[in-house]
């Protein structure tokens, strides 16, 4: 019996078609194109050292993009992610300095704070059922104000106090911001962390219960609830994951530069979202991969450094991101509608 539809009308999807419907494919093509562009126009871009710099720039965007893309797949946004990084770094620096603590204790307190902000975002989103855009926009503006106000009140300046001579700084720097050498080229450790987080996120998404729940929460939250998926916990957990990533990048900034400017971070949240979208994450959730977001981050990293290497006006970076984003979303739409049509 062959009921349940007309099998003759549905053919097995070819390998090629299955490949082009992968969320990452559009961005992979884009990454190759951007690489080729800068390889052609910028001489310094061809050197191995530049590759290391590009990877470093990509990794700081990419680590955040891991959290942001998971959240987007789960159907929510976080506009407070950019300033959240700075909040975490400022908090760690000031806690450690003002209370004369080991910097690891400061980092631990900052972790609590970042997870707490993530929890608050998530809790408010699931309780009020308001769009996360509004909740996290509010959080973004509040954190931006607090970053400036609290830093000025506590330190009397616009930056966190220098902590490089404090206990634990050396070991923390090893973890968050050291370099290693591959083939004579010095590479930032964040690149490895980035790869690790992407691998972990990919494994969780594709091979665990929680991953199934993330896709379901973003794809059809009501259906997921109806079959017993804890949608609210999943979403809160995703906001906290973004909080964790913000803490990690914040710690990197702090231990790399020793001090953090309180006004930074504004606008970065959109870069992370752009990376996720360029990587094929659907704006409305339910679709996307961590690897796609990593490719998106790589495109942005290449653009950021490539504009400089090509000797173009660095102000063009934002233009370049905008253009890339536009091309990426149109391309994704085109690929998806074509691939799903028979």
């Amino acid at each position: 019996m062959t009921a349940g539809g007309d099998p003759a009308r549905i053919t097995k999807r070819s390998l090629g078609r299955r490949f082009v419907t992968r969320p990452e494919v559009g961005s992979l093509v884009g990454a190759i194109a951007v690489f080729a562009l800068f390889f052609a126009v910028a001489m310094p871009f061809r050197e191995l050292d530049s590759l290391s710099t590009v990877l470093y720039a990509s990794s700081t965007i990419g680590i955040m993009a891991v959290g942001v893309s998971l959240l987007m797949i789960g159907g929510e946004f976080d506009l407070s992610a950019g300033v959240g990084v700075i909040t975490s770094a400022l908090a760690a620096g000031m806690f450690a300095y003002e209370l004369s603590l080991n910097v690891w204790v400061g980092a631990g307190l900052a972790l609590m704070l970042s997870l707490g902000i993530g929890f608050l975002n998530g809790y408010m989103v699931v309780k009020t059922k308001l769009p996360s855009f509004l909740i996290t926009l509010s959080m973004f503006l509040m954190l931006q104000g607090l970053n400036l106000a609290v830093t000025r009140t506590v330190t009397g300046s616009v930056a966190s106090p220098p902590i490089s001579d404090m206990d634990g700084f050396a070991s923390a720097q090893k973890v968050f911001s050291s370099t290693f050498t591959v083939g004579g080229v010095s590479v930032q450790l964040t690149v490895l962390w980035w790869i690790l987080f992407v691998a972990l996120a990919t494994w969780v998404l594709l091979r665990t219960k929680v991953g199934n729940w993330i896709y379901a929460a973003g794809g059809n939250a009501d259906a997921a609830r109806a079959v017993g998926v804890p949608v609210n916990y999943t979403k809160i957990g995703l906001f906290m994951t973004v909080g964790f990533m913000a803490w990690f990048v914040g710690m990197h900034n702090l231990f790399r530069f020793n001090t953090v400017q309180s006004g930074e971070g504004v606008g970065q949240e959109l870069i992370y979202i752009a990376a996720a979208v360029i990587g094929g994450c659907a704006l409305m959730g339910g679709w996307g991969t961590a690897i796609g977001a990593a490719i998106g981050a790589l495109i942005l990293g290449m653009a950021q450094q490539g504009v400089v290497y090509a000797g173009w006006n660095p102000d063009l970076f934002m233009f370049f991101i905008g253009a890339t984003l536009l091309i990426a979303v149109v391309l994704n739409l085109w690929v998806r509608t074509r691939a799903h049509r028979r």
């Binding site: 097995k12 999807r13 665990t208 199934n212 679709w287």
Partner: protein, 281 residues
């Protein structure tokens, strides 16, 4: 085909159940029993109280008056998850599945199989794909690719995937909320076939619909709700399709309307037509 099982005790029994929202009585004195191997059809117009009734049966709402027993014990579920554990599965028309997820992921959503110790506990992908495929085959559903997103299946196939899932996870009572409402004739037929398959598998099926023709094809017992109250509750033997259609369409009200429409329509138009022809001539 149901005569042998008819004598069995009901799996699910509501007696004089009522539910109010503020001063609105959404449901009053509704009694209903669902037996294994029987399809109970609930019909009613928009606002008749069908959704409230389903939500009480599936555990989303608590009833205010009357009693509700599942397998002889008072129903005490407060979430869809609890209800599933009691053996009551609800397949909603529009929110049964996640369109972008592959068939097998949808099949096991919320009840995923895992292997390995924490923190390496992971989905048992091979087993899940195999079981999902087997269960669908058992229902006679041909899905070309178990990895294809559910959204690419036809409306009827999606309903059937949801039904197969409910049966696999041990549902004793299957509630189908307007499964044929958005479907064409052929797809509706597919779903109706699996409703009878579920009944033959020994489940108690509650089939909510607008369509008396669909109901009569598979139903063993018919319940019509009107303004929150039982308008009709009768076994198939005491009812013809015409009775059912008549009741469902509003019975006496429809008769009155029919007369009224007839009176204005035919003669008047004829007269106008004649007059026009004369003028033209």
């Amino acid at each position: 085909m149901t005569t042998t099982i008819e004598a069995s005790a009901p799996i699910l029994e509501l007696t004089d159940v009522g539910k109010s929202f503020g001063n609105i009585h959404a449901l009053r004195d509704v009694s209903l029993s669902v037996r294994a191997g029987e399809v109970t059809c609930i019909l009613g117009d928009n606002g008749a109280g069908k959704s409230t009734l389903i939500k009480i049966i599936s555990g989303l709402y608590k009833h205010d008056t009357g009693t509700y027993h599942v397998a002889g014990k008072p129903m005490n579920c407060s979430s869809p998850r609890d209800a599933l554990d009691c053996g009551i599965a609800t397949v909603y028309q529009d929110l049964a599945l996640v369109p972008l997820l592959p068939v097998w992921r949808n099949f096991f959503l919320g009840s995923e199989l895992t292997i390995g110790p924490w923190p390496f506990r992971r989905l048992d992908v091979a087993a899940m794909r195999r079981i999902a495929d087997e269960e669908l085959q058992k229902m006679g559903i041909h899905v070309p690719d178990i990895d294809q997103p559910v959204g690419t299946l036809s409306g009827g196939q999606r309903q059937v995937v949801a039904i197969a899932r409910a049966i696999h996870f041990g549902a004793k009572v299957l509630i189908l909320d307007e499964p044929t409402a958005a479907l064409g004739v052929k797809q509706s037929g597919v779903v109706l076939k699996y409703i009878s398959a579920a009944r033959d598998a020994g489940l108690g099926v509650i089939f909510i619909t607008h369509n008396p023709h669909h109901a009569y094809l598979v139903g063993d017992h018919f319940v019509i709700l009107r303004q929150g109250m039982l308008d009709l509750s009768s076994p198939r033997a005491e009812l013809t399709l015409d009775d059912l259609t008549h009741h469902m369409a509003g019975g006496a009200e429809l008769e009155a309307l029919k007369h009224e429409l007839q009176r204005i329509d035919v003669p008047d138009l004829g007269a106008v037509h004649d007059a026009q022809e004369k003028e033209n001539a």
